[in-house]
């Protein structure tokens, strides 16, 4: 990855009638990064990807790829290639001819063309499969053909539209690692659209989170998880307990607040928060809470509650705890180290919390 920008979008807007699919999209993508656009369905992420590819026109704004403005450059002339959600493998062509499809326009010699196609097939581990027909391929193989067909064009940017959504769970996890490995070895920029937060987090250098046509936050996965910019982003990525609070005092990068149930707390300012008022919202990740039968020592804040519900997830156990002063139950995740479920509904428990694990989410 370098600091040079390969794609720049500035104030891009797309409307379908009165529906605003994408608004004020400003985004710079770095050369060689794996970038994901993450959001629920209908948030405009696919539209944004198709605008970059040139399949979708846009009313306002500017796009440059590698310094070249893309206005008036149609999809077939752009230095981008796409892996489609359906993979769009040409059913009337063999694997080889699918991969060679775009190269046939470039007047390569037959030897060169064969070499390029075979290299691409090797790269996606489909060596020797060139003669297969499209309808003889498994889901995973179709995805590899789609990848090879796009990569053989040596695009400056590879666009991937929900590339893993058509695969079953195990294959999907294997392909996540493989796509990441492939991107790192080729070194070109990948832009992936996905609605799956785990997929985005495991694969990406950076993630852009979109809601209702707006890009909410762009950050590295761990920053996105630790310092989400608002309630929506915090709720979409991972589990989160939300607690309303009042601002008592703001002091540099510290806030003194009075939180419902937990009382007075001193927490760090979240630099990603854009708006802050006297009414605040704070968040605590379920795995950051300690749960104990007796009042735990060494925590900045402790609170008593009653177990309302227990959910066993295998790798962890989630306890849902009713706490006086809070309308929502507090969710606590405990790693399943000893294969035990320690509490049951109705048990009295204590929760322990460090100030450093409380996330400031700005205006409540």
């Amino acid at each position: 990855m370098s600091d040079q920008n390969i794609i720049e979008l500035k104030d891009v807007e797309k409307r379908f009638g009165s529906f605003v699919a994408v608004s004020d999209l400003t985004l710079s993508l770095k050369q060689g990064e794996f970038f994901s656009l993450l959001g629920p369905s209908g948030c405009g992420k696919t539209t944004a990807l198709r605008i970059i590819a040139g399949f979708q026109d846009h009313e306002k704004g500017k796009i440059t790829i590698d310094g070249v403005p893309m206005k008036d450059i149609p999809a077939n002339k752009r230095p981008t290639n796409m892996v489609f959600q359906s993979y769009a493998i040409f059913p009337h062509l063999t694997v080889f001819n699918n991969v060679a499809f775009g190269l046939r326009k470039s007047r390569l010699s037959k030897a060169e063309l064969d070499q390029r196609v075979n290299e691409a097939l090797d790269m996606v581990e489909l060596t020797g499969m060139g003669g297969r027909k499209a309808d003889e391929l498994s889901g995973g193989q179709r995805q590899r053909v789609a990848l090879a067909r796009a990569l053989v064009m040596q695009p400056k940017v590879l666009l991937l539209d929900e590339p893993l959504s058509a695969l079953d769970k195990n294959l999907r996890e294997a392909m996540q690692l493989e796509l990441r490995r492939l991107q790192q070895s080729i070194g070109i920029t990948f832009v992936m659209v996905t609605h799956d937060q785990y997929e985005a987090m495991t694969m990406s250098d950076r993630i852009g989170v979109m809601f209702e046509g707006k890009l909410m936050q762009v950050d590295r996965p761990e920053v996105l998880y630790a310092q989400p910019c608002n309630r929506e982003v915090a709720a979409f990525i991972g589990g989160m307990n939300f607690v309303p609070a009042e601002l008592i005092k703001e002091d540099g990068d510290q806030l003194q607040i009075k939180a419902a149930g937990f009382g007075t707390l001193n927490i760090d300012v979240n630099p990603n928060v854009r708006e802050r008022g006297s009414a605040l919202l704070i968040g605590v990740r379920p795995e950051q809470l300690e749960i104990a039968a007796t009042k735990p020592e060494g925590y900045d804040s402790t609170i008593e509650g009653t177990i309302a519900n227990v959910a066993f997830y295998g790798e962890s156990v989630h306890y849902y705890v009713e706490v006086e002063g809070l309308t929502d139950v507090v969710s606590v995740a405990v790693p399943n180290y000893f294969h035990t479920v320690d509490y049951k509904s109705g048990d009295k428990v204590w929760l322990g919390l460090q100030n450093s694990s409380i996330i400031d989410l700005g205006k409540g």
Binding site: A53, F55, P74, A75, N76, K77, T80, N81, M82, F84, Q85, S86, A88, F90, P91, H92, F101, G102, K105, S106, D135, A146, R149, A150, M153
Partner: protein, 265 residues
């Protein structure tokens, strides 16, 4: 669903009886075309092929057949081309008055034949086009269009739009994309449409009767023969050949229509 199997046990029997009803008049023609006698009645009098043998010598028949082939061929090409583009628009794009346009192209199916025929006759004569094969071709293209549009619509329905985008994305031009991707994939649909529209034109009578003037098509020729009882066995033989040809065409069309749905997986 199996739960309902119990009720109405007579239904399969009815279905078979209905098939007998459907096929009797159709199969009657070939049966009596081999009958050695001019009266179509039981009992059959013995086998002969002479009615078939006589057909080749009838010059007006050959000319009518030729006319029908020309009319059917051109009308099939014209209606399938119009239907191909229209169906693509209906399946692929949203545009103003789309539903009106989709309804309009189906209109030829529901206008009484006599009204289409009489009004077209008057129009062609008014603009100075004498009744001729050209007039019949124009009329048959009109009548066959709904068939072409619906066959092509189902062909495009099964066609994944991202295939075209993929080709375009890989650097192909719009025309190149159509030639290298769209056409090969929907070609079974095109062939099915050509065969069906050809058959529609080939069998059409009323319009051809009004518009063909002194260049009769095959059905117009048959109509002129039906009146003469002596020619009856020849007409039966001719009808049997046409029946066989139509069924062959239909089976081929069905084969190609199914290929469309298979390739879309």
């Amino acid at each position: 669903m199996t739960r309902f199997r119990r009720y109405l046990p007579g239904l399969p029997a009815y279905a078979f009886a209905y098939l007998v009803f459907l096929y009797t008049p159709v199969l009657l023609l070939p049966v009596f075309s081999f009958n050695d006698g001019t009266i179509v009645a039981f009992p059959l009098k013995g086998l002969t092929l002479k009615w078939y043998a006589q057909l080749g010598a009838q010059e007006t028949l050959i000319r009518a057949l030729f006319n029908s082939l020309i009319v059917g061929g051109i009308a099939a090409l014209a209606s399938t081309s119009l239907g191909l583009f229209a169906a693509r628009a209906y399946v692929r794009y949203r545009f103003p008055a789309k539903e009106m346009s989709e309804g309009l192209v189906m209109l030829p199916l529901v206008i009484p034949g006599i009204i289409v025929a009489s009004s077209m006759l008057i129009m062609f004569v008014s603009i100075g086009l004498k009744p001729s094969l050209t007039a019949v071709i124009l009329g048959h293209t009109f009548l066959a269009l709904p068939f072409a549009v619906s066959i092509m619509k189902s062909a495009f329905d099964e066609f994944d739009q991202s295939l075209e985008e993929a080709a375009y994305d890989l650097g192909e031009t719009i025309i190149g994309t159509f030639r290298r991707v769209t056409l090969p994939i929907v070609s079974p649909g095109i062939i099915a449409s050509l065969l069906v529209t050809f058959t529609v034109s080939f069998d059409e009578f009323v319009l051809a009767f009004f518009l063909s003037g002194n260049q009769p098509t095959l059905p117009v020729y048959i109509w002129s023969q039906i009146r003469f009882p002596a020619k009856l066995p020849n007409t039966l033989a001719l009808g049997s050949i046409l029946l066989l040809a139509s069924i062959l065409l239909l089976v081929v069309a069905e084969y190609f229509r199914r290929r469309t749905s298979k390739t879309s997986i």
